[in-house]
């Protein structure tokens, strides 16, 4: 039941991302709600939960994007893994670290997504454009991170010990 609810929540997040979020475009990018959600879940309840959300959310994103199924899932997995690595090594109560993790996670997501597309022979944007989008998206998602953490706080309760054991 809990898993079904998680899948439904992720589906709702994806639908909001591909229908409402593009209205909030700034500097060519709009919030990547799925990525922010994955990073927030990883931060609160550990890297395993984050990677599970990344797989589900990534496959759903792939259903809304051109190309094969998989690249967005790989990119989200990278974001979750990097965040998990981050949480093990920093003070998790600090407000700044989740934002930095979101920025780094977005950078990892973007690089992996472009690399996966390139590997699969799909068209990729020019390097300059990709870098511009990467930086703008990193800043945007980092700003949204505190809000995302507040939203998941009510749903996910995990002590630092649980997080370590989950990792």
């Amino acid at each position: 039941m809990k898993r079904l609810l998680a899948v439904a929540l992720m589906l709702a997040t994806i639908l909001v991302q591909v229908t409402w979020a593009p209205r909030l475009t700034i500097a060519g990018v709009f919030p990547n709600l799925a990525l922010v959600a994955v990073i927030a879940v990883t931060w609160r309840s550990g890297v395993r939960s984050g990677m599970a959300w990344a797989c589900v959310g990534g496959l759903m994103l792939d259903l809304t994007a051109p190309g094969p199924l998989g690249p967005h899932a790989v990119a989200l997995l990278a974001g979750a893994y990097l965040t998990g690595f981050w949480t093990r090594n920093v003070d998790s109560e600090s407000a700044l670290h989740p934002m930095l993790a979101a920025a780094a996670g977005t950078a990892a997501y973007s690089i992996l997504l472009v690399a996966a597309d390139d590997t699969l022979g799909l068209p990729v944007p020019p390097l300059g454009v990709a870098m511009q989008l990467l930086v703008a998206a990193s800043v945007y998602n980092a700003v949204l991170m505190p809000l995302a953490l507040m939203l998941v706080r009510g749903h996910l309760h995990a002590s630092p010990a649980a997080r370590v054991s989950s990792a």
Binding site: L15, V29, M51, A65, A116, V124, V129, L133, A167
Partner: protein, 271 residues
């Protein structure tokens, strides 16, 4: 203990990544295109419903904005009936939709191509691919490669099509390329997508210079698009005397965030 848990999560990460890459390679095969199309079409009704909810929210917020403006403008409207105001807002929205549909119909008549009208139900998931999702697919005659327009001008091209939905690569996509000519100078160029605006490389020609305000229309060169579709207006030009081309920004006639209805040209086959 800590090191073991870290290596376990690293192992899990690598296994999941490998699985997803295998899935990507399998789903990319031509024999899997049908299943992939069906899977992608499955989300279209949900996206359509969500888009409808978003439109209703917009309508309500627009209504609140109107009410607020009217209150400050004229005290007499304080007594206006709420239901009447809601009706006015709804009628305005319906009139706007009617105008869009009429424009599309006029365009179809004058353009002379067969077209299928489609509703935009979603957008691409991130800035790396500027795509639209529409609610028409192969069951309605929509095929990959077909050109997509609105009454105002060119939108892009169908990239993938499922039975009841399709993904359109817009001109705003960083990988998009369209050959154009300019309405006054007749100069040729190539419009490319970008994160914030469309850009065009205008080739130099003896005695001719591109000027702001010129319209860029599809040239038909390369056979990718029919000739004469409006792309946009030159907004600003950077002249480069030492180069063989000038660079300009193009104000796209279609606002990608505001497109709700598109037309798919079904009888033009790109070469």
């Amino acid at each position: 203990m800590y090191g073991r848990s870290q290596s376990r999560s690293t192992g899990l990460f690598l296994i999941l990544c490998a699985s997803m890459l295998v899935l990507a390679m399998v789903s990319e095969q031509s024999w899997a295109a049908g299943v992939r199309g069906v899977a992608k079409s499955a989300l279209a009704p949900l996206e359509s419903a969500m888009t409808q909810v978003a439109a209703n929210v917009d309508r309500v917020t627009a209504g609140f904005g109107d009410v607020s403006a009217l209150r400050t403008e004229n005290q007499r409207l304080k007594a206006a009936d709420e239901a009447l105001r809601r009706q006015i807002v709804e009628l305005n929205a319906a009139a706007k939709e009617n105008a869009t549909l009429r424009q599309a119909l006029d365009f179809e008549r004058s353009f002379g191509h067969r077209m299928v009208a489609a509703q935009v139900v979603g957008r691409g998931p991130d800035g790396f691919s500027r795509t639209l999702q529409i609610d028409r697919g192969t069951a309605d005659g929509v095929q990959p490669g077909m050109i997509v327009t609105t009454g105002a001008g060119l939108v892009g091209r169908v990239r993938e099509a499922g039975p009841h939905g399709a993904i359109v690569q817009t001109l705003g996509d960083p990988q998009s390329r369209v050959n154009v000519f300019l309405s006054k100078s007749g100069l040729q160029g190539t419009v490319t997508g970008g994160p914030a605006a469309l850009q065009v490389e205008v080739e130099h020609s003896l005695g001719m210079t591109a000027v702001s305000g010129e319209w860029a229309l599809t040239s038909g060169v390369g056979g990718g698009y029919p000739r004469g579709l409006v792309v946009g207006e030159l907004a600003s030009i950077t002249h480069r005397p030492s180069s063989t081309s000038d660079q300009a920004l193009v104000a796209w006639v279609n606002d990608p965030a505001g497109i709700s209805l598109v037309l798919v040209i079904t009888d033009f086959v790109p070469s």
